[in-house]
Symmetry: C2
Subunit: 550 residues, 2 copies
């Protein structure tokens, strides 16, 4: 014990757990009248978002949601989805935002595996939720509808609504008002879980990525710093909040008291009109989203008359897209991350002195790299996953991208084996293969985990393979990514049929469509004898080359 260890302990005055809930309290207290959310003709101020979130948190508590209880949500980017990112953690709950594009069986798997105590469903997805609910025991789950008045159609899967929750907690929220700190709504430990996100992994069943308050706080700040967002950005919700909690952006927008422009569907007309009408300054999206915008009519494109910035990830943005966005007056920030890292944790940091004078093609080539660690990432390397020895920075040698830091997940839920494997050697193994350039920038070349990223969605090739193998006529199957101008990548299936069996490409696709979410259905199917190594392993790199030629 030295002199600096004596009588200098933590107490309520000098130590507070890190939690993004604190950012909401601050935004509401300092900018009560500022618009936090715009959804159609509806607006909500930061004070209202605070008050509604407190009311919901109180109602959840009264209904028995406690520390470590999962609250699942199936929703588009609307105000209630945003509020859930605060209200659920405020009562100690863990938010499980579910991908609206999944099939009922996979949704039921999440509800079951995550042991959800409550399921909140946007009316747009009432039918999908109802189908999923048929596959889980009904009594374990409270079902809440979001009755969005901005949406004419859709169906309420329950008469118990988000508004009911607000009404239930209103009285308590009125009493609480606007406190001078958020202590009453913070977890005991910043390591407590804040969110659960299912991600397609190397196995057919999704893995539940568990994130915590500390990481969510830090990555929310990292976003603000990475993008130099400043105060009061106007942020358009093109990125789904069910993708890794919208890369932590609901929390980032509380850090800088920004305005969220909600958007149910990412269609070019709606995007350009929103950018123009609300003077949007920032939005996020996979390169496919950018590509869609670039394909829009000239009239729409002319709606951008001010500085707009886009953050892109999910695949390397092709030079044509980078150049196209630049000509639109949209500055692109290229980032990279995984659900396991709270969203973006690297960025292709601009090196003004070195790059400013280069031609646009060369700049685009440099910018298409995944770059360097973000401000809150503690370590980034490309290394041999067995020896953990970093590869030389020669731009040629392949290795696995590995990260460490506070914005790396707690682990996979109820899956200690996968958790241990992903953290082997004290680094998180991303499963992405990259080269390391002489300037310290990483560039992803391939994926070791057999994930296909299509339109920003992760697709497990193994999930599709498992399905194909279950077809009685199929002997062998392998699925790889094929580069696609629109979607970035798309699944391509190679199938060997059993002797004397016949099956058409269309029949295989129909079979897949029955069992898989639409975006996972292979766009190409080819019948071949699978190339294998001497030990019988399928040579996926050969298939990838074949896929490009299809």
């Amino acid at each position: 014990m030295g002199i600096f260890d004596e009588s200098l302990d933590q107490n309520e005055a000098n130590f507070t757990v890190l939690s993004p809930v604190s950012f909401l309290r601050r935004a509401a207290q300092i900018y009560p009248q500022k618009i936090a959310l715009v959804h159609g003709d509806r607006t909500l101020t930061w004070r209202e978002v605070w008050h509604r979130s407190v009311a919901v948190a109180c109602a959840l508590k009264a209904r028995g949601i406690q520390r470590g209880d999962t609250v699942a949500i199936l929703s588009a980017n609307i105000p209630e989805m945003f509020e859930a990112h605060f209200a659920v953690p405020m009562c100690g709950g863990v938010l499980n935002a579910i991908n609206i594009r999944l099939d009922p069986t996979t949704i039921a798997f999440s509800l079951d595996h995550g042991e959800a105590k409550m399921f909140v469903v946007d009316k747009e997805f009432g039918e999908l939720a109802a189908a999923a609910l048929k596959q889980v025991p009904a009594d374990a789950l409270q079902v809440i509808s979001i009755d969005d008045l901005q949406l004419a159609d859709g169906s309420l899967v329950s008469s118990d609504t988000w508004d009911t929750l607000i009404a239930e907690g209103q009285g308590e929220a009125d009493q609480i008002g606007m406190p001078y700190d958020a202590l009453a709504f913070l977890p005991v430990d910043e390591w407590d879980a804040i969110a659960l996100s299912y991600t397609s992994g190397t196995t057919g069943n999704p893995k539940g990525v568990v994130s915590h308050h500390r990481g969510a706080y830090l990555n929310a700040v990292s976003n603000a710093l990475t993008w130099n967002m400043g105060d009061h950005p106007v942020y358009l919700w093109t990125l789904p909040m069910f993708h890794c909690n919208g890369w932590c952006f609901p929390w980032t927008l509380a850090v800088n008291a920004g305005t969220s422009i909600c958007l149910r569907q990412v269609r070019p007309k709606a995007v350009f009109e929103a950018i123009s009408k609300h003077h949007v300054t920032h939005f996020c999206g996979a390169p496919v989203v950018l590509n869609t915008l670039l394909s829009a009519s000239g009239n729409l494109k002319q709606l951008i008359q001010h500085e707009v910035r886009v953050m892109t990830a999910g695949a390397a943005p092709p030079p044509a897209i980078l150049a196209g966005m630049q000509s639109l007056g949209v500055e692109v920030t290229h980032v990279y991350g995984l659900t396991e890292t709270y969203g973006p944790v690297t960025l292709c940091a601009w090196q003004g002195e070195l790059w400013d004078h280069l031609g646009i093609d060369e700049q685009a080539r440099l910018k298409s790299r995944q770059g360097v660690g973000g401000p809150m990432l503690e370590g980034l390397m490309v290394a041999d996953p067995e020896t953990m020895i970093p590869v030389p920075q020669d731009g040629e040698t392949l290795g696995e991208v590995m990260m460490r830091g506070n914005n790396v997940m707690k682990g996979y839920l109820k899956n200690p084996a996968a958790t241990a494997e992903s953290f082997a050697g004290g680094w998180f193994h991303s499963g992405d293969l990259a080269v390391w350039h002489a300037d310290g920038y990483i560039q992803i070349k391939d994926r070791s985990k057999d994930i296909i990223i299509s339109g920003g969605e992760n697709i497990s090739s193994i999930e599709i393979e498992d399905l194909l193998y279950r077809h009685p006529a199929v002997l062998e199957a392998a699925v790889v990514a094929k580069t696609d101008a629109k979607w970035g990548e798309t699944p391509c299936a190679f199938v060997t049929l059993r002797p004397d069996e016949t099956l058409s490409e269309a029949e295989i696709r129909d079979y897949c469509r029955e069992h898989l979410a639409k975006f996972k259905v292979p766009k190409y199917v080819a019948f071949v004898k699978l190339p294998t190594t001497s030990t019988g392993k399928v040579q996926k790199f050969v298939l990838r080359e074949m896929a490009q030629a299809l």
Copy 2:
């Protein structure tokens, strides 16, 4: 134990202690060639600062500096002072930056009370250090000189220099090179002390404020967010780094890989020339610094031809200064904090929609308030220090400013009583009295701790009173702040002599000059019978009114 507590533990991949050392590693790795420091005709890149800091850290370790050992430094704003903010924490040491304006006895007190194992002395202050060293046991302390080649005069208090340390650690630093994370240089616990800063308190002896890695990390980020600094600011060092570690700005400049322009002395000519020559974007200073700049010649002022931002604290900036800076093209951010809060933790956040249309006087009035909590402060209130009940937000009722959060100190070194008192009720008691306005902004009206802030320096009125009481001719003495156009405040002494004693104002000032640092010597001395309450307590508020009339 819930499902989120099982097999989801911390490990090297997903948990790293928060420490500003990580920011240096990142800046050096991503921007190795960027200029980190400019001092006269000398420049150092971020890679060099990393390498030199590693070398010094290794040398300190080899010389026996361990976790929790104090390394004191007496230095102007030069590169070595900046490097010490990283090198000392990197070996587990605690940096005690000492005010160069103090007298030898007070410096000796710090060395002794902080149990310094090493004392680093800039050659400009060799004589001062030598005088202080005469008052401490020599064998306990390694003394290191900074032999700044940019300074012609000065004296080396030791032949053992900063460059010797670098030479000693060079070999190890070469071997370490540029690692992929900073783990080897991080503390085991983020609650470990990083710095010790002595501050004038209510008693004659200074109190040692202990800060920790977690708070330094967070407040460094808070600075970047509060000021929306963006990447690569050019920061002019007008604020002394011995003031509360330059409000954490050495660490902030590693967050955003900025360039530090060093400055030995804050003189208008040097400031304006540096702003122009280096295209300075940011600097900090007490209102007295701003006032000095405004008094400069028109020729000098014309050197500012680009956007410059200044952060000011230490006293409310008078409207004339705010308007003056605006006319110079310098945007003022008004912040407030104490050494106990790592520097600034509140800011007068601009409310564009509400304030943009107001006249300049009204804007200046609003901006002169200390404002609201910064992004990393968890709680701020104005409350009755006894009952802890917040005062009404009426702009009239006085209460004490209180904070809580991770950017509040660990406590006072070897002073559990003062620590407990300052944290009573779970909030840090700032000692500053304020009103709370209806819009939630605080405004400081008075100080309960009898601190006089003169030219940004804290002066304890009680230290001066104690000295005056020790003079044989003095019966009673009380010292208060008097408003001063140049210094903000200046000490004003009221003295009652013993019967039949005579003493002139000049004699009292000479006596003070012998025993006190120059800036603490009362500018005004008046001979009066002290006004007292019925219980005999001196009525300082009466004296403050009398002082204004002098």
